[in-house]
Amino acid sequence: MNLNDALFKYSIRLGDTSLILAQRLSEWTGHGPFLEEDLALTNITLDIFGRAKSLLEYAAKIEDKGRTEDDLAFLRTDREYFNALITEQPNGDYAKTIMRQAFIDCFDLLFYTALAKSKDETLAGIATKSIKEITYHKRHSFSWVMRFGNGTEESHTRLQQGFDEVWAFTEELFEMNEVDEVLLKEGIAVDLSALKPLWLKEITELLDKANVQIPEGVYMQKGSRKGIHSEHLGYILAEMQSLPRMHPNAKW
């Protein structure tokens, strides 16, 4: 795999992960538990959509085949998508959405902080921008994990259930393949294996404070690095892509 291929695939992976997460989170718009939370999650979603746009725009530029970020978002099929499986999982109730978001915010802050030192200037620039935003996102999701975990018996039960449904998708975030190997040598990619203990430490501390139990021996799901997804991604794409596919080249 040459450097250009690897850089394209890396940007696509990061862009897709942001895009599918944002698309999922946007389902809450107008349905949040109360007005301030609705606004909070919508704002967070917007930041993540913005990051997706920057990353896919860069991927399109590296590919240099005349495709735009919109072509990449709206005209690829599920097997051509490389978003992490955790992002496509259904929102469930608010506790599950928040639990998933806390896992991702914690990972993203570590990841983009490291990516800000990348030798690729564009990725480093996008990362520097994202750190500021993710800091706010993480403060939000972590504080809600604490409130749910230490709230009522019901809020605690729901948080634990949300955790049980999402936990199996967390290990995949740290999976590396040939793309990472090629880019690590060039000082472009982030060494995910170095992030894992840091992530685990922070998450374990948070879950301790929220009285959530981490079960042992959970089978960890993988597949997205090869474009293999859970059944949920097809439905997300069907909804997200319906308009541009029905009306090709339509303009606002």
Partner: protein, 160 residues
């Protein structure tokens, strides 16, 4: 046309969401260069997903085309990342008069780094007895506060 004059033109463009300050005061326009009738402008987004960026781009293009240029190249630059530290004291005063509490500190402040936000001053009655209702307000760049003395709810321009 020299850069100073181009910047003067851009200073006439209001922020689409906070019309009391210009995009130059906001710190969105980073660099301008021109040669003959061609002008290049580098802009940087306030927030990654700020929906006003497209509007700002269109406004910059329109303004420059109306003022003698026939080719306008606008490019987006992410580094250095936009920060509220770039808001001038004058711009902060304008925000306050408009009813938005301006950022209270520099991003290099210790309280910012530890996440302990300083007390925010109510833009209407200037009381420091205020309460954060939500870290997220009407737009990405603002948090939502309420004054406990005059009871007015207001937006606070977050420090990033």
């Amino acid at each position: 046309m020299d850069s100073a004059r181009i910047l003067n033109l851009l200073s006439e463009i209001p922020d689409p969401e906070i019309p009391v300050i210009s995009i130059v005061e906001l710190g969105v326009s980073r660099k301008v260069e021109s040669e003959g009738k061609t002008v290049s402008v580098i802009i940087t987004p306030t927030y990654s997903g700020c929906p006003a960026m497209k509007q700002m781009e269109d406004d910059v293009r329109k303004k420059l085309l109306e003022n003698g240029f026939d080719t306008v190249n606008i490019s987006m630059n992410y580094s250095p990342a936009w920060t509220t530290d770039w808001l001038s004291e004058d711009a902060k005063l304008k925000l306050q008069k408009y009813g938005i509490a301006p950022p209270e500190e520099k991003t290099s402040d210790k309280s910012f780094l530890t996440g302990k936000i300083k007390s925010v001053t109510c833009p209407r009655c200037k009381s420091k007895n205020t309460l954060m209702v939500s870290q997220f307000g009407s737009t990405a760049c603002k948090a939502f506060y309420q004054c406990k003395d005059c009871l007015e709810p207001f937006d606070y321009f977050k420090c990033i």
